[in-house]
Symmetry: C2
Subunit: 142 residues, 2 copies
């Protein structure tokens, strides 16, 4: 691609390119494992919060309630999570991580770790720390 004077070297552009590469590697690794990012995020939240409602999961992961439904449909079908009606509140489902789900989460966490290594591969350890510190300052709420 021809270097575009008015576009390349803009921080917004560099950020989008670096992110595109990272998300590409991530999506590729997750796809090879048969999942998408939403599946991992939901399972990670479920493990951390313990059994909870779909609305709680949505809030914890910043995933829209309507999208939570579809992702849980997948996870349920795969036997990684289970929905049960909440006896204390009949509007709610209690969602819980199965044993298979917990095991799968560990596998996917390792996949995710490998992706981080691939993304940061061009940088030294000190540079990685610097980058993360600066990115944290740029990112919202944190």
């Amino acid at each position: 691609m021809t270097t575009l004077r008015r576009v390349a070297d803009r921080p917004t552009w560099l950020l989008s390119r670096a992110n595109a590469r990272a998300q590409g590697l991530l999506a590729e690794a997750f796809a090879a494992a048969g999942v998408r990012g939403y599946h991992f995020r939901l399972m990670a939240a479920l493990e951390q919060l313990g059994p909870c409602s779909q609305a709680d999961l949505g809030r914890a992961t910043a995933i829209d309630r309507s999208d939570v439904v579809a992702v849980l449909d997948d996870l349920d079908a795969w036997g990684l999570t289970r929905r049960k009606p909440d006896p204390a509140d009949r509007r709610r489902n209690v969602v819980l991580l199965t044993e298979d789900g917990a095991a799968r989460l560990e596998e996917l966490d390792a996949v995710l770790g490998g992706v981080q290594e691939a993304v940061l591969e061009p940088l030294s350890a000190a540079e990685r720390a610097t980058l993360l510190r600066l990115l944290r300052r740029l990112a919202p709420e944190g």
Copy 2:
């Protein structure tokens, strides 16, 4: 949002958050000016390359040929670009930037500059330089 141990602090996550903020500011500023990123990228390429075919524009901007069509439809309708059949090759259109287009490009370039300032606002000048240097190393092809 509850901090998710297995997700937050991952470089891929920080990158996506920082990028989301930057792209949000960018999209907002462009939307206020009545355009999207593609419109700017295409006009920037057109100014830099001079009159050329749609396929050339697609290659220069890494925008798919099929998307170039729709964006040029907009720009033509706004009087910012013009398509003419290429007499030397009847498969092609020659696309050129009108005077209005060149003027609009300058305006939008200033808008883009303002966004960069807003994005990097949390960082000092030295930190900004460091960040850009590191991001360049992470981004593909350059």
